[in-house]
Symmetry: C2
Amino acid sequence: MKWTQFFIPTLKEVPQGTEAISHQLLLRSGLVHMLTSGVYSYLPLGLRVLRNIEKIIRGEMNKAGAVELFLPCLQPIDLWKQTGRDQVLDDVMIKFKDGKNRPMCLGPTHEEVITDLVKNFVQSYKQLPLNLYQIQTKFRDELRPRFGIVRACEFIMKDAYSFDKDMAGLQRSYELMRKAYIQIFEELDLDVIAISADSGAMGGKLSHEFMVPASIGEDTVVMCSDCNFKGGKKESLCQGVICPECQQGTLSETVAIELGHIFQLQTKYSDAQQALFLDETGKQKPIVMGCYGIGVSRVLAAIVEIHNDEKGIIWPEKVAPFDIEILPLSGKKEEDSEIHELSENYYKELTSLGYEVLIDDRNESAGRKFNDADLIGIPLRVTIGRRNLKEGKVEIKRRRTPDGILVDKEEAISKISQILKK
Amino acid sequence: MKWTQFFIPTLKEVPQGTEAISHQLLLRSGLVHMLTSGVYSYLPLGLRVLRNIEKIIRGEMNKAGAVELFLPCLQPIDLWKQTGRDQVLDDVMIKFKDGKNRPMCLGPTHEEVITDLVKNFVQSYKQLPLNLYQIQTKFRDELRPRFGIVRACEFIMKDAYSFDKDMAGLQRSYELMRKAYIQIFEELDLDVIAISADSGAMGGKLSHEFMVPASIGEDTVVMCSDCNFKGGKKESLCQGVICPECQQGTLSETVAIELGHIFQLQTKYSDAQQALFLDETGKQKPIVMGCYGIGVSRVLAAIVEIHNDEKGIIWPEKVAPFDIEILPLSGKKEEDSEIHELSENYYKELTSLGYEVLIDDRNESAGRKFNDADLIGIPLRVTIGRRNLKEGKVEIKRRRTPDGILVDKEEAISKISQILKK
């Protein structure tokens, strides 16, 4: 992809009114743009990262046996009355009446809709277990949107729902998801802490939160220096014990962002919505449910919040919008035809090897190009400049290391393949 | 994919209150499910087809130089006041006030949002041309939703917007899109008629509609038997000429579904929203725009409306949810281990060759399996039954031909590869 044919509107200045470093970098590197408070557009570079995150999530969800579908944003309030959550979530729900005067809302989550769907089609234990998921836009009327896409009114979530015939089945489904989540966050290069947590508005007994330590975090995680204990602050205090698993440890606290939350809903929704099935003995029972969320757009922010330096973003390789950025440093084309030819050749060769490559073909100064390359944080940079090229050399530099290396121009491709190992 | 691990809730009966054959088949084959009037969930099989349609559209859009982004559904009404379209589209817009009492709407289209975005970042002719597109959920408050997902309140669109420095640029961008559209509909196996049309609420001078003849169509296309003339009914009559290009032809009429619409907006939006740039001479001018839509979910309905017979859907190969369906006809596993082993082996081999394969591993009668296979319409079916297998044979049948052929079980894979040519 050529920079001039793409759309990467980088900003030199830190935008006003932004506290979080991720918010600043997402705006400055042309990944997102604010339409109105709490509402963001994903620009082409940001969308590429989102798609990479989604791909990792999808891969692990499919491996765990979950099946993807796509549920509506528009939902009748009547459905929410069945569970009483039209009241519980009243503050954050976006509500309106449609042209036929029906009370409707925009889905802040989809337990009611999926339970209604499954209830229509599942009648027998033979059709269970079932795990259905989607990656979709959700809506919450946040009075105080914060930190850019971390707490927004419109955001992207992966939400999965499991359906089992009994508690043992739910335990299995839940454990599959818990393991899938650990794998997902590992692939996303996010060191999450999984803690058992309060189920809040979702209901049910057991839940786990997946938190990543970050200074902008709005939750507090308590960890013991000696044993394996990790807990939410509230839970630790509520239980009247600070570190239930050992006596010697001292506790430390860290603030963290919640990226995922999984719940054993049990029969809260199936009871309320009468989602019943016939078991092996012909007895009618409510389906035993779990639900499993990941904030996809929030993950994007968390990765930027954690992987950066004073110059810009440092993308983990698996989610980077491109693998390689080629920087031809030159003036007009006619002056530096060798530079341009070489970057075109590199582009073709690297692309044919399966790499995603961006060429900064703008007619800009070397300084501007270097600054923007550091800002948008592509993992590997190949700089082709007049001075080095006279010696037959080009520079290869990883974004995450301070210095580059000079290599013979003929050896650049093999060196890059060696470094990126694709 | 195994049927029992997927989620394909087929229906034997034609659902009540459905007129269109596509609506009936989409529901009966477990592709979509109605949540409430005009609002549909895409079930796993339907989502796979949607994704294939999107892939074709994306491929051609990218080839034509358009760049993908993702814009918000939530939009401030203030933005729409700049163009006066808060009034023009008042009937179909879903509006509400958020928690801060700001008047908001759900985007029925994105001209205002994208113009506002581009205006923020494009200042110079050097940044033009630019073509930005997205594939996204749109909302219209349809008083009379009809034919399932053909006219729905929530639907998926591909919408692209081109930005040029002058009319010549717009002509080029428009022509690129017109050709991309022809290519897209060809790949989708839809014989569209492109006619120049009324621009309606979009504004601008020239536009083309892409219509596919179908009995549930709500538009009428007029065609000449002799010359190349094709036109909308209204345009043909308005112009006071019936067939402007020739004198001899007789006219025929056909009803059709509108699947795409492209517009030369010119400066309607950039004037109203002050999206200006500096040209080569330093003069400030409004950006010259075009917009280009395809109803992605409506395309899904149109394909089903056109490609079916009395037994069910007949998917064109490029959009089919799976390439091949394997039908093991047998009772319990222990009785027919050879049948099960063979279908597993076929599954592994065909999958490793790059095919998407579905096995109907349900413990259902042969009749039910055949009926469902015809209903969901996978292009190629491999039937493994006891009687044929005694002779060392399996049956291969294309969905679109009436009869299957018997082949030696060892030759099935090579025969399939020959037929599907992947």
